[in-house]
Structure formats: C-alpha cells, structure tokens
C-alpha cells in the first residue's frame, strides 16, 4: 500500500489557445472504500490561477490552507495578484522545505500570466511531492490515474484549442481515464480559465 494511493484522486491540466483548463475527480476514499463523492482537490488561487492537489487527503487540506495564507499575505502586501510563475515557485519551495518528511501531494498548477503587450500566456506546471517543477507545453497529469490520463491525453490533445473545445477534450480525457482507475472517479470538476472569464462545471461520471 502506498501513501500516495491511500485516498485516491487525480488531476489534469491542459493548455489551449489563450486559455488553460484544469480538472479533477471528486472521490475521497479509504483505500477501496469510498467515503465522499464531493472532495474538492482543485482550488482557486487568484482570478487567473488554479491549483490541483492530488495525494493524501490530510495534506490536500493542509497545503490548501497554507497556500491560501501565503497568497492572501502576498496580495495584501504587494497590492497585486501573484503571477503563475511566482506561484509555481512558491509551491515548489513550500514542498522542498519538507524534503525529508514531505507532504504527500503532487501539485498541478494552471494559470494565465500577463504579457508586456497586455495579452495572456497560458502556463501549466506539475511538481512531484518534494517540489521538482515541470513546466509543460501541452498537458500535465498527477494522481492515481496519472498513467491512464497520460495515455488518453496523448491521443486527444491538440494544439491551440478554443475554450469550449479544450473543455470537451479535458473532460473526456479525465472521465475516460478515471473509469480505468479504481481509486479515482465519482464525478469530476472542470475549470477553463480564459482572459476574461472562468468556466467552472461539475460533471457526473460513472457514479459507481
């Protein structure tokens, strides 16, 4: 039994054309026994950044609360919102602080950063449980269904998807991947971040 698989759960993020998407399942279990079908593991950081925290349930909550503390203090002191790159390094350093007694979480970050010309640039990143960052150009996956997610995303993802198409791609990728994973599932939540809005939808999957 691995600690990373104790509660189950998976997260995926994808890049689109001037948009990004992040999605997760909603299961929380105790090994094979499902406890909840409404356990959120993706959280808003700012109006343009979301973070997904798949892994050990207790650390999902602890890290979420710690990041909220750091982000609130950053925002109120700097009088501006944090940029995705900066946040990614905050996540990384927070995890590495616990290098020899880690939080059992593999975070996924999705956000839009501002460009000097006034536009936006998609950014996604994933980290391992001690904070090694991986910035990707296409998609990142984490959690108990990560192997399946990787395969399905490889087949479905294509460059420069518009928000609605990106939503469809990430939703289908997640829903079909978690069906092959006993530790993920029980519905999903998807967020698509665009320049001027966020589309958040809760999906039903195979509720069994």
């Amino acid at each position: 039994m691995s600690i990373m698989e104790y509660n189950g759960g998976s997260v995926i993020a994808m890049v689109g054309k001037d948009c990004v998407a992040i999605a997760s399942d909603l299961r929380l279990g105790n090994q094979a026994l499902s406890i909840s079908s409404n356990f959120q593991k993706v959280f808003p950081v700012t109006d343009r950044i979301y973070v997904g925290l798949p892994g050990l349930g207790t650390d999902v909550t602890t890290l979420r609360e710690r990041f909220r503390y750091r982000i609130n203090m950053y925002t109120i002191k700097e009088e501006r919102e944090i940029e995705p790159e900066t946040f990614a390094h905050l996540v990384s350093s927070t995890l590495y602080e616990h290098r020899f007694g880690p939080y059992f979480i593999e975070p996924v970050i999705a956000g839009l950063s501002k460009t000097p010309s006034g536009g936006v640039k998609p950014l996604i990143a994933a980290a391992d449980l001690i904070g090694c960052l991986n910035f990707a150009k296409d998609f990142v996956v984490a959690g108990t269904a990560s192997t399946k997610l990787l395969g399905v995303a490889e087949g479905l993802w294509e460059p420069d998807l518009e928000p609605e198409d990106l939503f469809e791609t990430i939703s289908q990728t997640l829903l079909n991947s978690v069906d092959r994973d006993a530790f993920s599932g029980w519905g999903a939540v998807v967020h698509v971040i665009t320049k001027d809005s966020i589309i958040s939808r809760t999906l039903k999957g195979r509720m069994d």
Binding site: R68, Y69, M73, T75, I76, E79, E81
Partner: protein, 261 residues
C-alpha cells in the same frame, strides 16, 4: 524630579498614572482625524491625510488595499483606520493582517471583528507593562463584519483598551466630531445616509476649507448582494472626488465656500 515618572512606561506615578501612555494619547489627538459610522447595512470610515504637498508622488493608483496612508484592509471582512505615528501604525497593520490570516488558517473562517481588536490590544497592552519599551502611538478604528454580531465598529487606544461604537472619531478635533455625531446619528441609519453624515462631519472638523482626494481617504464595508459575503471597498482618489461631487462637497473653481450637505 518631575521627570521621574515620565521616562519609563512601566512605572506608575504617585497619583497612579502612566505618563507615557497619556503622552501617546496626546500625540494621537494631533494626528489626522479618522471617523467611523456604523450603519444598519454597513460601516463607513473616513480619514484626513496629513502628509500632502505638491511634490508628494501620488501616482500610485492604489491596488488591492488602496494606497492608504491611514485606511488599510486588515482582512477581507475588516477595514482599519489609524491615527498616530504612521510607522507604528504600519507595524500594527502588519500584525493585524498576520493575526487575521492565522485565524483563517486555524478555523477556516474570517476572524471575528472583536477578536481581531483583542489580538491587537493584547499586544498594545504588553507595551504598557514590559520594561524598556515605548507604547504604540496609535489609535485604531476597526470597521468589520462577522456572522456573530454582523456589522461592528471598534476603537482601540495605546493603553490596549478597546470599545464598540455606533459612531466615533479619533485624532484631531475628535471632541467636536463626536458631539456632531451625537447630534446627527440615528439608529437604523443606512449606509447611504452614513456616507453623507461622515463627509459632513469631516468637512466641519478638517483644518482645510475644501474636501478633496488629496486630503481625504474613504472606505465602506457592506455585504455583497449575491454572495452575502462582506465586501470592503477602499475608495481610489478618483472615486473620492466623484463621491464628493455627488454629495455636493467638492471644491468649485474660484469659490472656496462649501455648500452644506
């Protein structure tokens, strides 16, 4: 010998007084006025800026918390107004923000307003007792909301005392302002009328003859219509001028006389 009981904060005088605390309070009564009014559906805060001048760089538009000298966002549900030593105040504001976030971390809820006031007062009180330290030369007004007591307005002074108010004022001319508020305040006042009351009292207590964004800071705490969560709004300079125009208190060209609200 007269200075015997002055020099140290922690020593009582023979009459049982702590002179340093009284001096701190005296310093505050010369500071820019800060005024708060509690309404049924919100709280209004206004402050007089003392540091002004042609050469002062005011280009910062003010972001998340407003580019305040005297009004600060302490937490998403509390706005603070400070009177006294600005440097001491900055340190207290930072302490308040940290305390509020600590509460959020422990309890997953916004800090109750009175508890935040208590946190700061515990610290201020400490400086009246531990040796070799100077008390904070700051009074604060806390305008906040929590689900326990809804909208609230508190005042705290350098001794670490705090109290709740319907309407109050700290800083220069606070006596005049308070007697004005006593006359004009009505229970069940609404934010709309509270804004008018605050501006009216401010215009009468401030040294300058005209009200304008270069001398005034302004903030309102209400509940968001849709989410029912507290919504703190610290006005930007342009918004203050717009508000003053709407209230008929803005300065007019060539005419420095004010119309009453």
């Amino acid at each position: 010998m007269a200075r015997r009981y002055d020099s140290r904060t922690t020593i009582f005088s023979p009459e049982g007084r702590l002179y340093q605390i009284e001096y701190a309070m005296e310093a505050i009564s010369h500071a820019g006025t800060v005024l708060g009014v509690l309404a049924k559906d919100g709280v209004v805060l206004a402050a007089e800026k003392k540091v002004t001048g042609k050469l002062l760089d005011l280009s910062g538009e003010g972001g998340y918390g407003g580019s305040g000298e005297k009004i600060f966002l302490l937490n998403s549900n509390v706005i603070g107004g400070v009177a006294g030593l600005t440097s001491d105040a900055n340190s207290l504001v930072n302490y308040a923000r940290t305390a509020a976030q600590q509460h959020l971390l422990s309890y997953n809820e916004d800090i109750p307003v009175e508890l935040l006031a208590q946190r700061l007062c515990d610290m201020k009180q400490g400086y009246t007792q531990y040796g070799g330290l100077r008390p904070f030369g700051v009074s604060l007004l806390y305008a906040g909301y929590d689900p326990h007591y809804q909208f609230q307005l508190y005042h705290s002074d350098p001794s670490g005392n705090y109290s709740g108010w319907k309407a109050t004022c700290i800083g220069a001319n606070n006596g005049t302002a308070q007697s004005l508020l006593k006359q004009e305040y009505k229970d069940d006042i609404l934010v709309k009328d509270a804004i008018a009351l605050v501006l009216k009292v401010m215009s009468k207590t401030m040294d300058s003859t005209t009200l304008g964004s270069e001398k005034l800071e302004f903030a309102v705490l209400t509940l968001d219509e849709s989410t029912k969560q507290p919504k703190a709004k610290i006005y930007k300079p342009s918004e203050i001028d717009a508000l003053l125009r709407a209230e008929g208190l803005a300065k007019t060209d060539g005419d420095t006389e004010m119309k009453s609200a």
